[in-house]
Subunit: 322 residues, 2 copies
């Protein structure tokens, strides 16, 4: 297997590369993993099968060089995240829409109908929503990021229907706890309010405790990406977009779980300071899904939020009693 990951130096991309190198996909080993990313991975991945191509995905010539007949699978993760796509509309359109199209065109040009895994988001939804989003709930995104992801979903669907690619789009929950530095996603706090206090640092929460979010751990998200790589396209039929399962957790419950796992002193490091821009974007996203189709297709969710915090600690060498 030969997998190309756009945004492969990013958080999910690097984690996916490590998992693929270690475990392969559905019993098949991976011969080559190409990380196509403007940036270099924060921590180098020390494996001879993993290579990094430094390029911008909006450069067609770079795509032509990096994606070739040998490329069996493309996992397209490079994106301008929600807060930044809202602040810089043109950048979001250029990367999230135009470059996504360039990647689909390159995949089509191969003539091999490669599997393309694309990641959309809960931000594809917005406006009046049922208490639990169903698999056939309409996407009425209320952020530029959400609109751009919804356009990507439509393109992946049509390129698949036309037989140009074999596409799957995963609508990812918000990933928590994301390691490393805060990013420009409006949901960045959903990791920060856990990660910073655990590291002994103060954290600012820009939304109130009753805001609910649809969450998934990094580990679980990577398992779902791996599952999407080998999933039989026929099982998806004409609908190539999957709402992933997740956990519906309020900010208050997240901080409660932090208190439970790490103690009241740690949880007290979270300070509240409302940010209306972040709040408007985040509360436009749905906070609960049935995700029935995804479960039937074999996608997975975490057990509960406290286990997510424990797994985050364990990945940093701190082990706690469950």
């Amino acid at each position: 297997m030969n997998v190309l990951i756009t945004g492969g130096a990013g958080f999910l991309g690097a984690a996916l590369a490590r998992r693929l190198a270690a475990q392969g996909v559905a019993g098949r080993s991976v011969e080559r993993i190409t990380l196509l990313d403007r940036a270099a991975p924060a921590q180098p991945i020390d494996d001879p099968r993993v290579c990094h191509v430094a390029a911008d995905i909006s450069d067609p010539a770079a795509l032509e060089r990096a994606i070739g007949e040998h490329t069996g699978t493309i996992v397209h993760l490079a994106a301008v995240v929600s807060g930044q796509a809202e602040a810089d509309f043109d950048l979001g359109m250029r990367v999230n829409v135009d470059a996504t199209r360039l990647i689909l065109e390159r995949a089509r040009a191969l003539g091999t109908r490669p599997r393309v895994v694309f990641t959309s988001s809960v931000a594809a939804f917005g406006g009046p929503l049922p208490a639990r989003v169903a698999d056939d709930t309409r996407a009425l995104p209320q952020s530029s990021y959400g609109v751009q992801k919804a356009i990507g979903e439509l393109l992946v669907g049509d390129y698949t229907r036309k037989g140009y690619i074999d596409g799957v789009t995963l609508r990812l929950p918000t990933i928590s706890v994301r390691p490393g530095a805060p990013n420009k996603a409006a949901s960045s706090f959903a990791s920060g309010i856990i990660r910073e206090p655990l590291a002994g640092l103060p954290a600012v929460c820009p939304v109130s405790t009753d805001v609910r979010m649809w969450l998934q751990s990094p580990d679980c998200a990577v398992s779902n990406l791996v599952h999407a790589i080998s999933l039989d396209g026929a099982l998806l039929g004409i609908d190539r977009t999957v709402n992933l399962p997740g956990l519906s957790v309020s900010v208050g419950e997240m901080i409660g779980a932090l208190r439970e796992v790490a103690g009241a002193d740690v949880a007290a490091r979270v300070r509240f300071e409302r940010d209306p821009v972040v709040e408007r974007i985040v509360t436009s996203w749905p906070s609960d899904f049935t995700a029935e189709r995804a479960r039937t297709l074999g996608f997975v969710a975490d057990r509960d939020y406290a286990s997510i915090i424990r797994a985050h600690l364990a990945s940093h060498g701190v082990h706690t009693a469950a």
Copy 2:
């Protein structure tokens, strides 16, 4: 008022120009109507306020010249229709997606937040559908035309949300009876099986009599476009896409109405010859809608299909008893 109509030389564009010249919009008269179209109108519109600019909408320089500060309203009708967008994917993407974006960008550059009326279609829907499509039914298009229109809807929504334009998208029913020659729309037969027999010509119907369609007369469609030009954007709120009302009519009922209005000899001029490509596209479209929101907003539908045929005859100087 100063209105620019892309595709203004086409069927709906020319009919809209005539209506605007004759009646204005909501009591306001129209000073200038610019028809931006590659082609010239089939019949010249003899009115000093109407001018034709021969240009391709995928040419940014032409858009810059034709759309200026004086442009108060843009009605964007130019499109590659369903059958052609399916046969030539790249052409459909270039005109239906890229040029739509160029037009939205040009409108944004004006800085005046102009009203932009965009026309989508029942083809934005596909896949498993309820018997009657509701206003919140999900768009899962199963043709490239439908995907491209759905992308246009998303863009019109986001450009509006960002305050760049004041947009409205109408999801038009199939227009019947469309005068003139057949076109490359998969739905072209929905006019041909009435228009040709009435003109003494044979017609081929590529789908079976039980295929149902969601229909609207040209007159009604033009009324709805005029209504969209002056509709208060605040009434639309965050959802800028409107499913227009229409008539749900089976092909058998259409031919029955033809028999009722024009006699059995005329109706006998329709011959059936199944075309699986047309059938696949047309039966992927919904054939009935609640269209509640549109009715509340003041959009209209025809009374019944026989009156549509009578109006078509009357517009050709033939008057029949109702």
